[in-house]
Every structure is written in structure tokens, then in C-alpha cells.
């Protein structure tokens, strides 16, 4: 059979909603795109632990501390599901981690923003996890089997993340003036970066067309972004807070909220490594990796020693 035949069979499978599994034939570009996307998603989960981990020791109560610990542990788990899915495409974990540490691989820029106050943790849960969920729910139906299965697992756990964030802000919104101000301030700072999470506008996104045809993605960046704006614009009313956008307005004709323009210059600056915390995040990852090296080596040595003992007995 020729490559064209293989490609035809492959596309037929996709069109018939048959999932692609690791040992199936797939075009190189499909493998590459999935590998890039899944590994970046994995890196995002891992780096995403850093801004929240920042507040574990300073959470205002034992309850909030336990919740935050559980959430951060979930993110580590999500990273592992995704690394495993990416590994089925033929890249080793070690290579992926090296690419993250060298700056070659990217992760979601949202995690290059700092968590300055306790209210930021609520805003991250509500807005950042909320935006991620939009993407992730779509991805539970992605065409690559291992990725779709990882996303199903992740989505089950992720809704706790968003709910705890909103509830935490709700408590602040009903608190003292200082607490309400802190809540509003966090929303002001996280709103625009959260909108940027959906990526460039459809007219600028080079990958989307092919990804749609292969059903890696099923909704465009702008569609997902609009869905998110519509959801948050309603939810914020319950908090009695304001989104920092003068142009935000219900459009009766479109049946959607209109909203203002994202600062794309800032978006690209952060992608290129010039965000507030890019360096800090990568330094923290590298430090953890390097300082953990002796542990990884010791575990291997111990496993070898045990194997020899069993063999000798």
C-alpha cells in the first residue's frame, strides 16, 4: 500500500470517530502535533503547581491548606497522565523534561504570572482552571485515544478545582472591605491572562485547520474563548464583582457577550519568555530536577541491590 492509501484509511477512521491508538499507522505530522500538544499540556500541569504551591504554607486556615494541597497534588497527577500519553508517541520522559528545562518546549503562559495575594488562589481556581476546563472538556473527544482517556480522568478531577476557587472568592466577596478589595484586585489581574490562555485568534493560529480535520481539536480558539466569556460574565454577578473590561456587554443579536481586545503584545512577550515569572518558574523546575538527581539514582541502586538479593536467595 502507498502512503496515500494509509492516509486515506487514517482519515476515514477519524471521520468515522474511531480513535487512533499508539500502534496504529498515523501521519508523521499527526504524531508530531499530538506530541507537541500533549507534552506542552503536561508541562503546564507541572509548572502550574508552582504559583499555587507558593501559598500552601500561607493558606488562611487548615481547611484551605488541605484543599490547596489536594489540588496541587492533582496537578502533579494530571502531569503524569499526560506525560504517559505523550510517551506512547515515541518520545521518552527524559527528553520531554530536558526540552522543558532548556526552554525548547513551552507551557501555558498563564503560569508565568505571580500569585500575589491569597485571593489570587481563588482567582486561579475559578478563572485559570475554568479556562483550562473549556479546552479539556473538548479534548475528552480528541482523536488520539491515550490523550482522550487522560483528559476524561483529568476533567473528573478538575471540576473540584474550579468550584473550590469560586467558593473561596465567594467567601472573600462577603467579607470585610479589605477582603472584597483583594478579591476584585485578583480578578482584575487574572482576567486578561486567562483570556489569553485560549491562544492566538483563529485568523493567526496556523495549526487549527489541520488539527480540526484530524479532530485533535474540535473547537477553535475564539469559539472556546467566547464560551468562557459568556460563562464568567454571568458567574461574576454572583460574586458582586466586576470584570476589568469596559467593552464587556451582552449582545442580543449574537446571543453572546462582546468583549474588548486582548493585549497581544503582552501575550507574545510572555510566550517569548519575558513574562513576570518565566525565569523564576524554569529555575524552580531545574533546581527541583537537579537536587532530586541523587534520589533518582539511589532508587535505581536500591532496586538493583534488591534484585541481586532475590537472585542469590
Amino acid at each position: 500500500m502507498s502512503v496515500q492509501d494509509f492516509e486515506k484509511i487514517f482519515q476515514d477512521k477519524i471521520d468515522n470517530e474511531t480513535k487512533i491508538e499508539p500502534k496504529d499507522w498515523m501521519p508523521d505530522a499527526y504524531r508530531k502535533t499530538n506530541l507537541r500538544q500533549i507534552s506542552q499540556h503536561a508541562h503546564s500541569e507541572i509548572v502550574g503547581m508552582l504559583p499555587e504551591g507558593n501559598w500552601i504554607s500561607r493558606a488562611p486556615s487548615l481547611k484551605r491548606k488541605a484543599i490547596l494541597l489536594a489540588k496541587v497534588q492533582d496537578e502533579a497527577g494530571h502531569g503524569l497522565y499526560l506525560y504517559s500519553a505523550a510517551e506512547t508517541l515515541g518520545m521518552s520522559r527524559q527528553e520531554m523534561i530536558n526540552d522543558l528545562h532548556s526552554g525548547k518546549a513551552k507551557y501555558s503562559s498563564i503560569f508565568n504570572y505571580p500569585t500575589l495575594t491569597w485571593a489570587d488562589i481563588g482567582a486561579v481556581g475559578w478563572l485559570v482552571d475554568g479556562a483550562a476546563i473549556m479546552n479539556q472538556v473538548m479534548l475528552t473527544r480528541t482523536s488520539y485515544g491515550p490523550y482522550a482517556r487522560a483528559m476524561v480522568r483529568i476533567c473528573k478531577e478538575e471540576s473540584f478545582h474550579q468550584r473550590q476557587g469560586f467558593e473561596s472568592l465567594l467567601v472573600l466577596s462577603r467579607g470585610s472591605k479589605e477582603q472584597r478589595d483583594m478579591c476584585q484586585d485578583a480578578i482584575n489581574r487574572w482576567w486578561w491572562p486567562a483570556l489569553m490562555m485560549f491562544g492566538p485568534r483563529d485568523t493567526e493560529s496556523t495549526n487549527s485547520d489541520q488539527s480540526m480535520k484530524w479532530k485533535i481539536k474540535r473547537k477553535s480558539n475564539d469559539e472556546l474563548r467566547q464560551q468562557f466569556v459568556d460563562m464568567i460574565a454571568e458567574q461574576i454577578k454572583i460574586l458582586g464583582m466586576k470584570l476589568p473590561d469596559d467593552k464587556l456587554k451582552w449582545n442580543e443579536e449574537r446571543r453572546h457577550y462582546d468583549f474588548g481586545e486582548i493585549n497581544w503584545d503582552e501575550f507574545w512577550q510572555v510566550v517569548k519568555g519575558n513574562g513576570p515569572c518565566n525565569k523564576q518558574r524554569l529555575d524552580a523546575r531545574r533546581k527541583a530536577w537537579e537536587e532530586g538527581e541523587w534520589v533518582r539514582e539511589a532508587a535505581v541502586a536500591y532496586a538493583e541491590k534488591k534484585k541481586l538479593k532475590v537472585a542469590a536467595a
Binding site: M91, K104, G199, S208, N221, V271, G273
Partner: protein, 120 residues
């Protein structure tokens, strides 16, 4: 394999705008890969849950506990090193599964019985 990864969020940043270095080469080794099977409750089969890296079987079980059973998803865990799993080849699916397709008499619905014969 050396694949240039330059995209940023869910693969949506155009290549040339991503920036970043491309000179990294892999170093060091991964711990062996293990497949994890979880029994969700007594009486049910163990089912494949996913995979993880661990130095040995004991660590694989402990990691599987943390990764796959944080919300009481299991009461029993099996782990096996992935290299010991032999999988059928998808290209041979035709030869392997086709012979079963024309044997409809293996299914109970093949047999038409009078209505009076209930619940057989």
C-alpha cells in the same frame, strides 16, 4: 528522535513565534515504565488505568496508589513492567478478528423461538 517543540498552549502558537532554544539533547535515563491495573471494587476485574515510571515494583505500586487512587478508585493494584506486555499488531486485525464475523450462530439472537418460551 529529535522533534522541535516550539508551540505553547495546546499547540497553538505558530512555530516561528515561539522562541526558545533547540539545542537540548537527552541525557540520563528514565526509570522503567510500568502498566497499572486497578480493581475498582471487590468482585470486578482489574482494569488498565494507565502507566508510570518507577525504579521497582514496590515503588510502582506506591506511585500507582498516589496517581490513580486518590479518590477511592481502587481496592487492589496490579503493576507489570510494560516491556513484558506483548500486544497484537493492529495491521493483522483483519486475519485475527474476521473469522468471528460470519459466525452469527454463536449469538443467542440467531435462534428464533416461539414467544411462549420465555426468558431463555
Amino acid at each position: 528522535m529529535n522533534i522541535a517543540i516550539r508551540k505553547f498552549y495546546y499547540g497553538d502558537i505558530p512555530e516561528e513565534k515561539g522562541g526558545g532554544k533547540t539545542d537540548a539533547k537527552a541525557s540520563g535515563h528514565d526509570w522503567p515504565l510500568w502498566e497499572v491495573f486497578i480493581r475498582s471494587k471487590q468482585g470486578l476485574d482489574h482494569k488498565h488505568a494507565g502507566s508510570l515510571h518507577a525504579a521497582d515494583a514496590q515503588m510502582a505500586i506506591e506511585n500507582a496508589r498516589d496517581v490513580y487512587t486518590r479518590r477511592m478508585e481502587g481496592v487492589s493494584i496490579w503493576v507489570v513492567e510494560s516491556k513484558y506486555i506483548t500486544a497484537s499488531n493492529p495491521d493483522e486485525a483483519g486475519e485475527l478478528y474476521e473469522p468471528a464475523m460470519d459466525k452469527i450462530y454463536r449469538h443467542p439472537t440467531f435462534y428464533e423461538l416461539p414467544d411462549e418460551v420465555n426468558h431463555m
